[in-house]
């Protein structure tokens, strides 16, 4: 058995920021299913929103975020996010992040969607990547222990308190128990539940599903962000920075169609608005080949594109054969981000003692029904830091929670038996691959940008059927190292749990708010639905209840752009 006072699960921005803030105060380890520098935070391109400009203010950032959230974000949490931001950006600067600069040497800022000011600090279009690698440097400096390619399997609870974790060492094909005082989940999102997603293969919602199974609460899971601009076909992300730097969206008639949907903000309306607009254009016959629209950067000039959007250019050339300096890119919306997650307070603490969460896995909630571009990177570092600081305060003072042999045995033995068994004969008729294909296309087609009650109800039923099939599959066990088939089996299980909660939540919420758009209930309904959706594990299926939204400064009003 291993012991660490604090275990951070996930090595992306939120996890590394958390670990960094605990290290030096308590014995800390990072457990990550891939090497930390491989984390999907590194794919974030646009930037980190903070109010640092002369005309800008923290107040304005708070308001834009509240409005962007369609008034479902918790305003106390948003206030923390926006207020802590500038300090964290300066802290990252002193760690060595190579921010892009203004002529006077200060940190440059660019416009992203839904913001009243150019507010996103960035490094060309590698913003997540450079911060991820800088934080990794700091982890090396602090000597934080990293367990790369280890997977969290289960949380171990004793008397309702999290006291450790059952984990799987993929390279050595071994089970291990880690005793802990505090666990911080920073495992990111579940984008792989959808066929069309910008997310990495690793983004399978492990932390959300494992926390939910252990009794944590998931909130607002029906709010799924679809990014407006991904390369048609491959769904590789084309940063919002492309529009922030001045790119235009056009339909087959050559019109900048956003004029009809968001006349003021145009291409820089929030993502939910832009994604719906694109699909509407396509639906009404103004999409190219019936499937995509154009994102046109040609008027920006090669120099600006090379300096500010080098990765966008490289990705478009390589994966679609289009040089955005010369021709418009072909783009379609795709799943990108989870607004929902493990419910936490403004310190990242969950109702389960000994368990915290930060970053995309968590729901604080700063994004409410729709996240603004540039606010998720900010959330990872602000709330990663807060979770780390909270645990740095708690862990050194508290005694090791008890963890009985009986509890360990109850969790460990079934896994030992499973892994020791001869690998089950793979069925010819069914497989995780088939179930995953059906689940992901179901989620994209029926739980996507435009939703209806009938399709959602059908989706729930079909997900239940997929789950039954899943439980009949043989488990791909064995003692060989790097058993990715076993990981795939577990990941499909997590995604099925989460997909069902998303679809049920969407089916129950009879209104349209932010990214959740019901064609049969196209209006926002504050009287009945201005509350969080809380999902708890039930006997056979999730149980739902309502949670209060923290409204401190801004009363809900109509949201127009």
């Amino acid at each position: 058995m291993l012991m660490h006072e604090v275990l951070v699960v996930g090595g992306g921005l939120a996890g590394l920021m958390a670990a960094l803030n605990v290290s030096g105060h308590a014995d800390t380890a990072v457990l990550s299913k891939i090497y930390p520098t491989r984390s999907h935070s590194g794919a974030a391109q646009g930037g980190f929103n903070v109010a640092m400009g002369e005309d800008d203010s923290v107040e304005a950032h708070i308001f834009d975020t509240v409005k962007g959230s369609d008034y479902l974000g918790d305003q106390d949490a948003i206030e923390v996010l926006c207020s802590d931001g500038p300090e964290v950006i300066r802290e990252l600067d002193r760690m060595g992040v190579p921010w892009t600069r203004r002529d006077d040497g200060g940190i440059a800022q660019r416009a992203l969607g839904g913001a009243g000011f150019p507010r996103a600090c960035f490094a060309a279009d590698f913003s997540g990547h450079v911060v991820l690698h800088t934080l990794y440097e700091q982890i090396l400096k602090q000597g934080v222990k990293v367990y790369p390619e280890w997977h969290l399997l289960e949380l171990l609870l004793e008397d309702g308190r999290v006291a450790g974790a059952l984990v799987y060492d993929l390279p050595r094909a071994r089970l291990e128990v880690i005793r802990t005082k505090q666990i911080i989940l920073a495992t990111g999102g579940y984008g792989r539940a959808f066929a069309k997603t910008t997310n990495a293969h690793a983004n399978t919602g492990d932390g959300m599903a494992i926390a939910y199974r252990a009794g944590a609460v998931l909130s607002d899971m029906e709010f799924v962000q679809f990014h407006p601009t991904t390369l048609y076909g491959t769904n590789i992300l084309i940063s919002e920075a492309a529009r922030g730097e001045g790119g235009y969206l056009r339909n087959t008639k050559g019109e900048r169609f956003m004029a009809n949907y968001a006349p003021e903000k145009m291409e820089l309306a929030p993502r939910d608005v832009v994604s719906r607009a694109i699909f509407k254009e396509i639906k009404e016959g103004r999409g190219f080949e019936g499937h995509y629209v154009h994102l046109d950067l040609t008027h920006l000039g090669e120099r600006l594109i090379t300096e500010r959007l080098p990765q966008v250019r490289e990705l478009a050339i390589r994966y679609s054969g289009v040089d955005p300096a010369r021709a418009p890119m072909h783009i379609e919306p795709a799943q990108h981000y989870s607004m929902g997650g493990v419910r936490t307070d403004i310190w990242g603490m969950t109702p389960l003692p000994g368990l915290l969460a930060a970053g995309e896995v968590a729901n604080v909630s700063v994004h409410g029904a729709n996240r603004l571009g540039g606010n998720s990177l900010l959330e990872t570092v602000v709330y990663g830091r807060r979770a780390g600081r909270k645990v740095a305060e708690l862990a050194p003072k508290e005694a090791w929670p008890s963890l009985s042999e009986e509890t360990v045995r109850r969790h460990l033995e079934p896994w030992q038996a499973r892994l020791a068994a001869e690998p089950g004969k793979l069925s010819q008729d069914d497989s995780t691959f088939a179930i995953r294909r059906e689940m992901t296309s179901l989620m994209t087609n029926q739980v996507g940008v435009f939703r209806t009650g009938i399709e959602l109800k059908d989706a729930v039923e079909r997900l239940e059927g997929l789950r039954e099939r899943y439980h009949r599959l043989p488990i791909p066990t064995g003692t060989q190292p790097f058993n990715y088939a076993l990981m795939d089996y577990l990941e499909v299980g997590y995604l099925l749990d989460l997909s069902e909660i998303i679809a049920r939540g969407a089916s129950a919420r009879c209104e349209s708010r932010g990214a959740h758009y019901r064609m049969d209930f196209p209006q926002r309904d504050d009287r009945n639905w201005l509350h969080h959706t809380l999902a708890h594990r039930g006997e056979r299926k999730p149980e739902f209840s309502a949670g209060q939204v923290a409204i401190t400064r801004f009363e809900p009003q109509e949201r127009g752009y």
Binding site: I34, Y35, T37, R38, S39, H40, G42, A43, R90, R94, M95, G96, P98, W99, T100, R101, R102, D103, D104, G105, G106, I107, A123, A124, F126, H129, V130, H133, T134, E137, Q138, L140, K141, P171, A200, H201, A202, G233, T234, I236, L237, Q311, L315, R318, Y319, S320, G321, L426, S431, F433, P476, G478, T479, Q480, P481, F482, N483, Y484, A485, D488
Partner: protein
Amino acid sequence: MEVALKICRFDPKKDRAPVLQEFVVSVAGNQTVLDALLLAWQQDPTLSFRRSCRSAICGSCAVNINGQPALACQTLISKATENGAAVIIEPLPHFRQLKDLVVDLEPFFESLRATIPWLVLRDDYDGKLSPEIARQLEDPATCILCGICKAALGEHEEIKPACLVKAMRLSQDPRDVLGLHRLRLLQVPPEVLQLFIRKLPERCPKAIKITEAA
């Protein structure tokens, strides 16, 4: 189109030596070697290879493709099959093979420690940097630690390429106390350094160009 792949298989618990296993997969011309590997995996789920972002930013899927180290997600299948023969996919050379296409990355990540792999901040840093200097820092900061440089230049064991890139990136940062001392501390023979600087851009999947400021 139908594409033949020859993929290196090796399970240290069972096999004495690696063998090439043949797969035939059906892919579109604009798909990548990673897409082809994922299809092969569906035919034989015991196949092991790393992957994550599929957009050349995470560095997971570095393998040897037709004898050249490359990111599978960055290599179009049409390019890899240009000669009409089966695509041969093997683990990165100069790394220890752990299983199939998976290699031991621990020594590679450990090699970063030969320089002090973090910024040692100057006391008098006032929060400002010129935009030109910031732009110069960007290029080496795009390193994704994929290991291809080591696989491609591995015949020069005295080079720790990822460490050199890190050292060069930090040495050019005006915020860093150590600056150019970093390179002197590494004690890389000048001719080896020259060779590295010359060869890196053509081998690195991010085409990192480092200038010799030393």
